[in-house]
Symmetry: D2
Subunit: 466 residues, 4 copies
């Protein structure tokens, strides 16, 4: 049953599955299994008990409804799960059941389960991030030389190339990717401290058990530095979440640009059409940009998710009251939201429809005004910068007010000025008004940039995750 | 299946059910049924078709998984549901199926469904709000005269009564209740505008159909003022959501106070103990304040939910791209979060354990310093304000530094001053240090206040909602 | 000196002045003067002392730098100001100085000063709100019948009228106005409770003094209901702040629409040009929408301001530690930001440039597709709905794919269908493709709506505030 | 004049000065000077002109009031400043004035000025971060072996040492420090792209000029990778801001703990007393934790600041409309807020008053319950885990209900059980109830941890910044 449909519509099923009840319960059981095995290896608990415990750590033996229902009452997801697990083990061996969860605390199992789930979430996300970047770079390869308007403060500014624009979309994606991997390396660590962080029950064996648990779960251990829990020191974790929120912002920027370019009046780029996507039964001409919808919806919510993580950091003493629990719930929302944005944009990017003619037409509609700067520079060589600038300003004002193209007015002005007429012909002037010429510099800037970006992206093979 | 367990733990099942997939689908179908019936009554569509449509508007005929799955792709919850409904009707009568959703648009059905669900959510919430207020007022009735420390900037300030403190918790609850009802009256209105808000398909019949749909759904209609859709004018809706967020803040304030009073070192008030609630298997002395946990977790998240609603308001033109969809999802989270807080606090409030002795002991531990102001006033009548004030300041400093109780030092000082000694005996001084006397003014202020609050609260009968 | 220039650029000088150091200091002194006078009237302090105190309550006797500097250290704006005031009074009369701030607490003076400043802020804001609404209604009067595209999900949907769009901008403004006034009535109240809310120092005289202070400051008093401080019960205050944030969202929605319509490729509406406004030295064709800039900048920040107010509500016990102080600072930012948005939009609205031709051209560019629905309805009368719908869907797909206008294709189809040809001539079809006809219904819907809105707006006289 | 006093009270003068109008104007002029010099070095503009321009780039030649006033109207801080600068240069040489700001755009100068200011802000912040960490480590050195209660969910849990707690405060500070330095390295980069990011005016000289400007301003250049502007690619910048917000969260966690420990009823740690700090004229016993006030006030606001930065990321096309401007203003608020928190805590940390006796008394007040776990382990060696656990659970329940200390009950139970009595004497039991023994493990865990942290902190010499 799909739960809250408003949330489901803005999520991917794949990411929802990473954090759903069975997945989290299994991840918690994975921790309990590793804990028992590690303790047995260090001689803290009997090996036979550890084997029984590990064997019982399977989610299909858990009554998930009861678990979640009781956790609400207990104020903890761990206690009711450990209770069920203990009962499962006790059915086989009462004595072994005594060693379930030994030396650990609720937060150890919950946070570590979240770490394990997040590791999967990151793999899922990264596959779509690469897919999006690759699709955009392929588009730049095909259409990157197309001249198009640059726009500042939502007004036309001058001419760039599509490849230059695409580089500006891709570069932040790859920077985010690098930062996310780095932050993950710092944040995806075993949580293990026992009741108050000292692993008191385990005494001297504590650090060794911790290292073994981490190793069994494939989490990093650092033999050189002392092991610590991070029960109420959430900085690395929240910093990781913030990096994800930054990626959400990068998706939003691309989606904002794309949605603006997809307006009928602009018409430069469109999401691909597909059955059941963004249509309207009543209006056959409509093709709604549903990938932008996903990314812009996430853009409304993601910054607030990050704010909740940050706002939850003042966790009291050795375990927080409410703030820790809120952080966990927001964590899930952050991942589902950003992944929905990224996955939708990746799919759209693979079929983006570029309309070079509209790009060109949008430039032409501005009557040459976007070339005024280039004209000034050219004339300055003949009559000096001050006179050139004054002339172009005056001509531009006439274009804006009255409407004839700048090029015509300029030719007229040249004809009327003997000094200019002696040096400049219509053939000298024409290239100044050629969008392709105007885009040349952007192409030149973009070419090595795109090459560097392509080099950064790992070669794509298959992508089983998405 | 319980979905995301971190979210479920911080929600009530009752509120989750208000917004889950079957409930929202049925609410959408209720709109479609009312629409068809209203249009038949106004002669817009055939009566027989309306009857067939209304009969088909039952959630058990909907494949919910397919619905939600397709809605993700479509970027709309309405299109795939209308498709299923149309198919159901067409199975009976192809011609009738043409009239499904006639004259309406996706946003009409989705927003109106949300309005209908929210009406139920408010009833649920209100029952628990009343329950919480009633429980606190009953506590004030029983224990309201208990003297206790007032604290400012988390430091002891002087003496009040428990009833005075409780009045300060209840008054905002009842103000929120009044504001929520008022805001609901403005926000819980039919959404109905057709494709772009003009009800174009219905022509002149539009307003009459709108009034009938509203009436059939029990939503307010105002014959005097023109009917309007509110597709991208979300102010009344978001203002309603903000009122809910304010209630979340009121819950948080009570929970913050309660959690501070429940600290072992303070020990003035505790949540009731119950099996499976807030316990710890390892530490039998632990009783975690799990209602505070719920309310404080909501306090981390609720302000951000409100910010998302506000941030989603810049909805483009006649229907928003992403922001509207984000708002709907945040709306649900806002209600589930605040209800979880309120329901948990209501349950806790009905069993709050007050320790009058600890309240008294916490006053006593301050060595009389909290009575210095009252002493100054008493002595001023004898030796004038300046001398009285100087004396008490000096004595207080000695108490803070060295430790003997202020009362002893004051008696000593009186004995050494003939003027004071002539006028004041130990018996005159003793009441100045009596917490009960000190609390008298607070009791006097609280009594009419509590009476007024009790008067505002409707008499409680049964409460089937919670 | 203008302080932080990034903040100043996004503020109005008028609103900054409402909350700057001299204004707040004077408002605090106004409270102190009223307090002394009220206490003298109730016989609590000597009349002569009250007169001296009131006479000293002038901001020009305060060293503002010292005040703010010491307040940082003290953690309170009140203590260092009261110290300076006391010294001023003591220079005249040592004994009178003893009565400065008598019976009051820091939060009383600070919160009441904030209430007084906010009352001025609201007047300022309201003047610009009315100005904006009036300018938009005047525009609707002049140009309201212009047909224009309605757009959903940032794609063209169908045809409305400019007046219909303007009504959708104005209605929320006036609803916000009504809600703000109502919320102000609840929130702009005297703060007065003494150290812990009981007015302990004043004993039985407390309530009477409170009523007098309120009356002297022009704040509401309610003789029927008990007086209470609201030191840590911030619900009415924060609810008021949230209403302001909702107004910020309403401004953002208008600005978003305007900025989209002002794009060169859309060109339907522009902010007025003026020297020094939104220009670019390099690009004479540029006219940046700087009022939109202000409103959209505020839209980024305002929701977060509201979240901070809400997040600050869990104020501990009888005075908060940090959260109260944070709330005050955010309060100021909320008002300056929303006023900057509103004032800029009001100024822009008075000179908005509407391009009816571009509105028309944008409709025409869609090749008649936005009229497909109307055509279906017309043909259905001849050949029945199913055939009509199928035909139009097929024709629309051809328009979208190949490009000839829908009208031409439709005439062709009619000519080829004897049944249609017998009933429908080109003259019957033409009005279906006439934007003015298409806009008629929107005009009809808008006319009474705009009239009702105009009726709600008070007649504007002069506006000294803005 | 101190501007808005509510904001000033929550800021440090030093950080306010980093971002005030003269500092920002000078930083913008520094960019203009470097630009002119770099362009002269690359032969783009005449050397004489560059010299005149650079000489004019002094803030004392700027009318700051006019600048800020005009910038509000222009929607840009750059245009009015460049105008003033141009006029200054033109007074010396009209021709040279033509080269002011050559090839650059508003965003280049504003963003680079922000980078330069932020570099200073980081130095200021880092000095106080180090100061705070050093003070805490010094405290751990002195008092780290003191046993104290660990608390989870705001309830006593078991015994740790003060040094263990301090290590948990310091470790995140130093991690934040490392992350901030790293993020600064990525974010504090020259902004330089000309009108639309291509440095079009400079043609082939663009990249070389960019490298020279960066070098002149002491900003990093990377000859290996292509130069790019980051006008609307804000990811590295916002990620840096988020790291600062995380540091704010770390400060809040410490402040939350400290404020809880400073409660009169807990009394384990207090901020230092000092004249004018946190006092109350009326209540001599009050010492308000004003450093906590600063940090907790920042904690309310900082997450929202980060959310605003993240929410501003969807900057349109080649320059954002409103979102960029909002981001700049929020940036300043983020730095002033976090620095106020950090500076206040650093000052407090240098004088923290620890009360070991209260720490001990708070343990003792729990009647031995926090030692139940240790007793279980000890008895298990004699009578097996199941019996030991059952016994302790039963005894603990009696302590909680009736009140005699656990130690007495346990001795009684041992005496009544011949098996236990044979193995365990009162002398064996006593250490189980000794807080110092209980804290031993925490001390052992903390010792290498604190050593590692101390090693990470650079040796402090003088600290001119704070």
């Amino acid at each position: 049953m799909p739960g809250n449909p408003f949330e489901a519509m803005l999520s991917t099923p794949a990411m929802q599955a990473v954090f759903d009840a069975p997945a989290i319960a299994q991840a918690m059981l994975d921790f309990e299994a590793a804990l028992a095995q590690a303790e047995a290896l260090e001689g803290v608990i009997p090996t036979a008990a550890a084997q029984l415990i590990a064997a019982a750590c399977r989610v299909d033996s858990i009554d998930l409804e009861t678990w979640v229902g009781e956790s609400r009452r207990a104020g903890s997801l761990a206690i009711p799960l450990v209770k069920q697990l203990t009962r499962r083990v006790a059915e086989r061996d009462e004595a072994a059941a005594r060693w379930v969860h030994w030396g650990s605390t609720s937060q150890d199992v919950i946070d570590t389960a979240m770490v394990l789930a997040t590791r999967r979430a990151l793999a899922l996300l990264d596959a779509d991030l690469q897919r999006l970047a690759a699709a955009l770079l392929a588009l730049a390869e095909r259409e990157g030389d197309a001249p198009m308007l640059a726009r500042t403060l939502m007004q036309p500014a001058s001419v760039i190339s599509l490849g230059f624009k695409i580089a500006g979309w891709v570069a932040p994606l790859l920077r985010c990717r690098a930062r996310l991997q780095r932050a993950a390396g710092e944040a995806l660590r075993l949580q293990f401290g026992g009741a108050v962080g000292t692993l008191a029950t385990l005494g001297d064996a504590g650090p060794a058990v911790a290292r073994r648990v981490a190793a069994l779960l494939g989490l990093p251990t650092s033999p050189d530095e002392p092991h610590h829990a991070w029960h109420t020191q959430r900085d690395s974790w929240v910093a990781f979440g913030c990096e994800l929120a930054v990626l959400g912002g990068v998706c939003a920027k691309f989606a904002r640009d794309l949605s603006l370019m997809a307006q009928a009046e602009v018409g430069e780029m469109n999401e691909p059409a597909a059955p059941g996507k963004g249509g309207s039964s009543a209006m056959p001409h409509k093709r709604n940009p549903v990938a932008c919808l996903q990314a812009l919806a996430a853009a409304v919510r993601t910054p607030q998710r990050a704010a909740s993580l940050l706002g939850a950091m003042a966790q009291e003493h050795e375990r927080g009251l409410g703030n820790w629990q809120a952080e966990l719930a927001e964590w899930v929302g952050l991942w589902t939201g950003v992944h929905a944005a990224l996955a939708a944009l990746a799919e759209a990017a693979e079929g983006l429809q570029v309309d070079r003619q509209r790009m060109r037409a949008n430039i032409d509609a501005l009557q040459g005004l976007v070339f005024a700067e280039a004209c000034t520079a050219r004339l300055a060589a003949v009559i000096g910068r001050p006179r050139a600038q004054a002339l172009l300003e005056q001509l531009s004002a006439r274009v804006a007010a009255v409407g004839p193209p700048l090029q015509a007015l300029l030719l007229e002005a040249i004809a009327q000025d003997s000094e200019l007429a002696a040096s400049l012909s219509a053939a000298d002037i024409a290239p100044l008004f050629d969008p392709a010429v105007a885009a040349e510099l952007a192409v030149a800037r973009a070419t090595p940039w795109l090459a560097a970006l392509a080099h950064e992206l790992p070669p794509r093979t298959s992508n089983p995750a998405s």
